[in-house]
């Protein structure tokens, strides 16, 4: 590391990222563990260190409506939230994506009730998977600041909102060295935001009117899309964002010297006899588990999924093509089925001839501690089960299951 390195929490890193992007409107409602992100920004705005409007509202639903309105008229917009706050935004998350607004939101991952928990898992953002937002999962505080900056460039190029997700407390409240990028270089990297639709009193229009199932000719005779055509455009944009995300990550690496891997990253994967997969800090933890396993003679590697939507279909196929076994650890559960990441990985491999056994561990829900040694032990148990012919396993780690 070089330049301006400071020891800071993940929440500070997120706030610095937003500041470097010169966000113009921030709206937020406090919720643990995300509060200090926007608290830090509020301080800067009050002191005049960040020229922006800070809009205080009564709920997260209103937060996202403010973000939608401000982004529509051309402001660069930021917010952050967690858990129930994100769930309360749910309807407006759909609205932001459907309106194709490049809003950036930091989701500081926290479990959801009932029962109450303030501690970390990824159920909150996974529950927003199908809202049309791009989702990036960070593994350390440096990646948070870098991903927020990248998120604006991605969002404003493809006109889709981006959720930068990172684990509550594990990253949000843990101090790490973080290099703060140079302001001028960030300005070079991130061109000004140009809204896709200019609102002008001389050319009035109604944005998001009722739209019909069918295409329809407007009063000027132009054939306008129906609902489904509009929704296809959103899906197409998410699919297309893949290349933009990869290119943005590469450009960022060229300018700032840090490459976070684009869609996913690998650790000691080349000769691996077992690959551990995960998202966010549990994937970081898994790298230590891989080291422990290798010390014990088991050639383990890690594949960290960085971007969950759009899902890195091709990269996942490449990553697991030669893996004799895959173990997925994840901090979410699609109740009645399995972990969302595991299900998506399996779906990506369907029909490719990749036939590695895939085991799934639900881990760390509601902040339950997961040690590298425990991950390593779980992998060892999985390999033994696979050797015994058990191709599928779906279980919970460090949990009373009997």
């Amino acid at each position: 590391m070089s330049g301006n390195v400071q020891i800071m929490t993940g929440n500070s890193a997120a706030a610095y990222g937003a500041k470097l992007c010169k966000v113009q409107v921030i709206s937020a409602y406090p919720i643990t563990p995300s509060t200090s992100v926007t608290e830090t920004i509020a301080n800067w705005v009050e002191r005049g260190e960040l020229k922006a409007e800070y809009v205080r509202v009564e709920s997260e639903h209103s937060v996202m409506t403010v973000c939608v309105a401000a982004s529509t008229v051309g402001a660069r917009v930021f917010t952050s939230t967690s858990s129930h706050g994100l769930l309360y935004m749910h309807e407006q998350l759909h609205w932001a994506a459907g309106s194709r607004l490049p809003i950036v939101l930091c989701c500081v991952n926290r479990g959801v009730g009932a029962p109450w928990s303030i501690f970390n898992d990824q159920q909150d953002s996974i529950a927003q998977r199908d809202t049309g937002w791009i989702q990036i999962y960070c593994r350390d505080n440096q990646e948070i600041i870098d991903s927020v900056i990248q998120a604006y460039r991605i969002a404003e190029e493809v006109y889709c909102p981006v959720m930068v997700c990172y684990d509550g407390f594990v990253l949000s409240h843990t101090m790490m060295p973080v290099e703060i990028p140079d302001q001028e270089k960030v300005c070079d990297f991130l061109p000004p935001y140009k809204p896709h639709t200019i609102l002008d009193p001389e050319d009035p229009r109604n944005i998001n009117p009722v739209i019909f199932p069918w295409q329809r000719r407007d009063a000027e005779g132009v054939l306008r899309d129906g609902y489904m055509d509009m929704r296809f455009k959103l899906q197409h944009a998410l699919e297309q964002s893949h290349d933009v995300i990869v290119r943005t990550c590469r450009d960022y690496a060229g300018l700032f010297g840090r490459d976070h891997g684009g869609m996913l990253w690998g650790y000691r994967t080349d000769d691996a006899e077992v690959l551990i997969a995960g998202m966010g800090s549990i994937a970081t933890e898994a790298t230590m588990a891989a080291d422990l396993l290798r010390e014990a003679g088991i050639r383990a590697g890690v594949v960290g999924i960085r971007v969950y939507r759009p899902f890195p279909r091709e990269e996942v196929r490449d990553a697991f093509r030669n893996a004799p076994a895959v173990v997925v650890f994840e901090k979410n559960i699609s109740y009645g089925y399995e972990g969302a990441l595991c299900a998506d990985i399996k779906a990506a491999l369907y029909g490719t001839g990749i036939a590695a056994p895939i085991h799934n561990f639900i881990a760390g829900l509601g902040g339950r501690d997961v040690k590298a040694s425990e991950l390593a032990e779980a992998v060892r148990a999985s390999l033994a089960a696979i050797a015994g012919g058990k191709r599928e396993l779906q279980t919970w780690l460090n949990c009373v299951t009997e």
């Binding site: 459907g98 309106s99 896709h196 639709t197 009035p204 229009r205 109604n206 407007d218 009063a219 306008r224």
Partner: protein, 97 residues
């Protein structure tokens, strides 16, 4: 091939008929009795509560008052508000206009 809609989010511009010929929706038609309508009786600009209350903006405040049946949805608010009871909503027959 017709040009594609280049908007990436749905929008429309304020224009007559932007929502289509909404007169199709009507199952009752307002009929004005000029012998009762205050503007017609007094032969000057008067009352025009029908024009004021019409949610579709399709009543013309003239002498006589006119209703644009191409867009009138037949809601009956004009008949409800008319102080002279000059407007009657005539129900359409089943299946007819």
């Amino acid at each position: 091939m017709e040009a594609k809609d280049d908007n990436i989010s749905a929008m429309c511009k304020p224009a007559v008929g932007e929502a289509g010929k909404t007169g199709d929706w009507r199952d009752a038609t307002p009929v004005i009795d000029r012998a009762k309508c205050i503007a017609s009786v007094k032969n000057r600009a008067a009352c025009y509560l029908c024009w004021l209350y019409c949610p579709e903006g399709i009543v013309t405040a003239g002498i006589p008052v006119e209703i644009d049946l191409t867009y009138c949805k037949g809601c009956g608010i004009c008949a409800e508000e008319c102080p002279a009871k000059a407007i009657t909503m005539v129900m359409h027959e089943e299946g007819g206009k």
